[in-house]
């Protein structure tokens, strides 16, 4: 579903991603872990071209998204993204946040979009907040709305960029719960996170990144219980 070949990304002289190769299958939940500055967020943001790519290729369902002929807006409509800072639109109600893109991008009619938005809000447990503005929500609620907003586009892939890192500890659970549910339903997910418990429980595969490379990858219990690489061991000894 996603194939990454020799991906490189530099910011000026700073090479953040050096040579990334990965493939992610349909319905797979891949968790990306690693120390800060390892390039994991940049890697994720390259998958929907929020960062321009310096070298290499990213294929989404066989389409090379870096090719000049590719309509990136079309790809992005099928790849949902959830951000660390939520990035809800503060001037729009929760419902409008969710309905905007289906209406403007997918040209779905207002009534259907509303029906779908309410259904998604029910799913993340926030139906009663439909007419609230984002400012009045807690962090956990905001992130659940952000997930619903991404899902409203009916994406085939969901990218999560440290979705719980900006949350108060007691709100982490409610967001992870929604993500777990999503994984159970068979969504293809790439999750950058520091939540090792989530990685172990929900991940089908864990990638450990350091210094712009994927240093090690394995099924969670192997990677956590029996890490092969020195750097993986050093990292895990600090966070577990």
């Amino acid at each position: 579903m996603i194939k990454v070949e020799k991906l490189k990304k530099s910011f000026g002289a700073n090479e953040v991603l050096k040579d990334i190769n990965a493939s992610i299958k349909q319905q797979e939940v891949v968790v990306v872990i690693g120390p800060s500055g390892s390039g994991k967020s940049t890697f994720l943001r390259c998958l929907n071209l929020l960062e321009s790519i310096t070298g290499g290729h990213v294929f989404i369902e066989g389409i090379d998204i870096t090719a000049k002929t590719t309509d990136i807006n079309k790809i992005r409509a099928e790849v949902g993204m959830v951000f660390q800072q939520f990035n809800l639109f503060p001037h729009k109600t929760v419902l409008d946040n969710i309905m905007l893109s289906p209406i403007k991008v997918k040209k779905i009619d207002h009534g259907k979009a509303k029906e779908k938005a309410l259904e998604l809000l029910r799913k993340v447990g926030l139906e009663e907040k439909a007419d609230a503005f984002p400012d009045s929500l807690s962090g956990g609620q905001k992130q659940r709305v952000a997930i619903a907003r991404a899902l409203a586009m009916e994406p085939k892939i969901m990218l999560f960029d440290e979705p719980t890192s900006a949350l108060d500890p007691e709100m982490v659970g409610e967001v992870l719960e929604v993500m777990k549910q999503l994984a159970k339903e068979g969504m293809t997910m790439v999750v950058v996170t520091h939540e090792m418990g989530f990685a172990r429980e929900v991940g089908d595969r864990v990638l450990f990144m350091d210094g712009g490379y994927i240093v090690e990858e394995n099924v969670p219990h192997e990677l956590f219980d029996n890490p092969q690489h020195e750097r993986t061991k050093a990292f895990l000894s600090k966070v577990l």
């Binding site: 992005r76 949902g80 800072q85 403007k104 991008v105 907003r149």
Partner: protein, 218 residues
């Protein structure tokens, strides 16, 4: 000191007509200045530095030279070159618009750039193209933040419009000067002019603060 209210009463019809001119050229200056300012602000934000350069130059010129110099160039040079004769009112409106546009362009740019990058990223990640993201997400938020500085600029423009008296626009200050010339009086014409400008700017800032409050509660 005798203060001649009777002379003020004498000139009142002229001051009132002058006030209409002041309001008229100021409103037109605000209208064209805002439209032009938006375009110039967008132009300056273009990623291509070569394409953005003329806009940068425009802003630098109009912010870096005195308004009175600009309006003389427009009145005695630009307008005659285009229509063959001088026209104070045209020069006044053009001068105010072009001058305000430079400041409004910067207000506009600052407003847009003050919106968190994540807003654009979220919009684009949902499949919106750049224009849609600007229109539905960035501009509505930027506009709210632009209102206070825009309001300041409108008030500055209203006051600057007094300078158009020097190119014979029959606005408030024009009649003030005529009053002084006719009666050799100083306090009566200029205190009257000051009072009218003061009422105009107070009214404008009242209207702007109401608009600001209304948008803030939306």
């Amino acid at each position: 000191m005798d203060f001649r209210f009777d002379l003020i009463m004498d000139y009142l019809p002229f001051f009132l007509r002058g006030t209409l001119y002041t309001i008229g050229i100021s409103l037109l200056g605000i209208l064209f200045g805002t439209i032009l300012g938006l375009l110039i602000g967008l132009g300056k934000m273009m990623k291509n530095k070569i394409l953005a350069f003329p806009f940068l130059l425009y802003i630098s010129f109009f912010r870096g030279t005195p308004f009175i110099v600009q309006i003389f160039i427009i009145h005695f040079g630009v307008v005659p070159a285009i229509i063959g004769t001088t026209n104070g009112i045209a020069a006044g409106i053009i001068g105010l618009s072009l001058n305000a546009a430079a400041y409004i362009a910067e207000i506009f740019r600052a407003g847009i750039q003050s919106i968190d990058r994540g807003q654009m990223e979220a919009a684009r990640s949902l499949g919106m193209n750049h224009v849609q993201a600007m229109r539905y997400i960035i501009l509505p938020q930027a506009f709210k933040r632009m209102i206070p500085p825009l309001g300041n600029e409108f008030i500055v423009l209203l006051k600057e419009s007094a300078i158009t008296a020097l190119v014979a626009v029959p606005e408030i200050m024009y009649w003030g000067r005529a009053f002084q010339g006719q009666y050799y009086r100083v306090w009566e014409p200029y205190l009257t002019a000051a009072l009218i400008y003061f009422i105009l700017t107070l009214t404008l800032s009242y209207l702007l603060s109401r608009l600001e409050k209304r948008l803030a509660t939306e």
